[in-house]
Symmetry: C2
Subunit: 303 residues, 2 copies
């Protein structure tokens, strides 16, 4: 059985692992995201050490973005226009590939987390689904017909427009690009900005949660209607508040108002909108799954 | 070269054709949609007559919906829960397949129109794009990674939620399920309901069009962000008002506000949001293209 390396490269921390799947992770390293040189250097050092011990067949990278996911582009494998200081136009996958000499797959953090859920988590056996993460921002990825969603760039599901009733919720939204887009109204900083305290300090009966569920339900509905996913997986820090799930499920049903005549939506919402099967490990395990695909050609890779 | 039959089965009219592509349509029939027995009977009669003259290799059907597009379902090939009198639970593809004995592909009218645009129209060479039709309703289809979007059911892009400023636009929306969803605010009947006259009688400088472009731009943005299409094709009766295109393009750019750093969106909007390459024939030609795919196994089909 081939051994794989995975890098979950997030904006605040990196998680690196080596293994073959969730029950066989042989080594792991976590460290904060500092400069590209230092951070990618540490990831590389970890993988090289592991590679010397037992050869890795391929590596997968789940990267914060925006990135260039187009294998035909000279910038494939780069982080592109991020506002994160020092990281714009950073060659990422290429450094790993050059040093290790194995195929390196590269995609957005959320698409790779979606892949992890597909391989070992809550999306096993599905070919069309959405993975949404709600934390300091809102991001989404997923598959249609068994392939990760790409296209012109990659999905930016957090920035969709949703109805905002200014009378009942005068909070203006915090997105620097769009103000009151879904992320601007419903990511963690919006909860804190609106109520003046951290989301995880608000009790479950605080009105913040009904409003949060309302916005997230609008967002989820706006993903269900165009993509027709077989399941919607919701992860990230805010979704650790598990009491949000029943609120969101009920509100999505109310918003759709019987329009989609699927038994899954009408009767089995508990199975339709769900937390990640892999908990907080969707990303790093997804990177292992991406490495598998990079090796057998199902995912674009630097070779 | 194989000869194919196509049926564009719409809620108000049926268009049937036989041929191999846009430059080789050998026969065509159009008739109003009445009862299922009469209407499907006329389509079948036309195809049988053509089939007797020169055998058809396969047939494609573009159907109004909702439909069951799942080839594993016993109801594959049916129109399902439509409110259209007499048409709920109508076996459609099965009747054609049984009578002609050739593979019959079956999908939504908008997905099939998208396929037509992919085969011979404005989406040639793309693998991820959206086709949106704005007429008496709003519907959307498209491809991701070269496959038509399915999943739990099929896309229902017209019913997404969009911001609605009740102060500047007190019109409540006409959608019987959602009131002021995109379709409720921006399909043809909304223009007529809001301004008290038919859309095609409003002059190009009427304020109706700026508002219409605003809602359609919100809808298009809400499709671009989750799906990341390489192009958005907009057809249907309302989009015959070609002056809408520059308004929509400008407003989509303003709404995105520089967030998506793609040259296509920043500099080449004229190529990004476009009318159908096949004009009003996307549907029936798409049905021919679906027949091709049904024959070679790229599309699910009754066989």
């Amino acid at each position: 059985m081939s051994l794989y390396g995975g890098i979950e490269g997030g904006g605040s921390k990196f998680v690196c692992a080596v293994g073959t799947g969730p029950d066989d992770l042989r080594a792991e390293a976590r460290f904060p995201t500092t400069t590209p040189t230092e951070t990618i250097g540490r990831a590389l050092e970890f993988l090289q050490e592991q590679h010397a011990r037992e050869p890795l067949a391929a590596v997968g990278i789940a990267s914060f973005g925006p990135i260039d996911p187009d294998p035909a582009s000279p910038r494939f494998g780069y982080i592109t226009t991020t506002p994160k200081p020092g990281w714009a136009q950073t060659r990422f996958a290429g450094q790993i590939q050059r040093a290790l000499g194995v195929p390196v797959g590269f995609d957005t953090d959320v698409n790779v987390a979606a892949l992890g859920e597909h391989r070992w988590g809550a999306a096993q056996g599905l070919d069309t689904f959405v993975y949404l993460t709600v934390g300091t921002g809102i991001g989404g990825g997923g598959m249609v017909n068994g392939a990760l969603i790409h296209g012109l760039m990659h999905p930016e599901m957090g920035h969709i427009a949703v109805p905002h009733d200014w009378d009942s919720d005068p909070y203006e939204g915090f997105c620097s690009y769009h103000g009151d887009c879904l992320e601007g109204l419903a990511a963690g900083p919006a909860i804190e900005g609106r109520w003046g305290q951290r989301a995880d300090t608000l009790p479950p009966d605080h009105p913040a949660w009904a409003l949060e569920a309302h916005y997230l339900a609008l967002g989820v509905m706006n993903l269900i209607l165009p993509i027709s996913p077989q399941r919607v997986i919701m992860g990230g820090g805010v979704m650790e508040q598990r009491h949000l799930f029943p609120l969101i499920r009920r509100e999505v049903q109310q918003l759709l108002n019987g329009y989609l005549q699927s038994p899954m939506i009408r009767e089995r919402m508990d199975e339709y909108i769900v937390p990640p099967g892999l908990g907080g490990r969707s990303g790093v395990l997804g990177a292992i799954a991406l490495a598998e695909r990079a090796l057998d050609g199902r995912a674009p890779a630097l070779r």
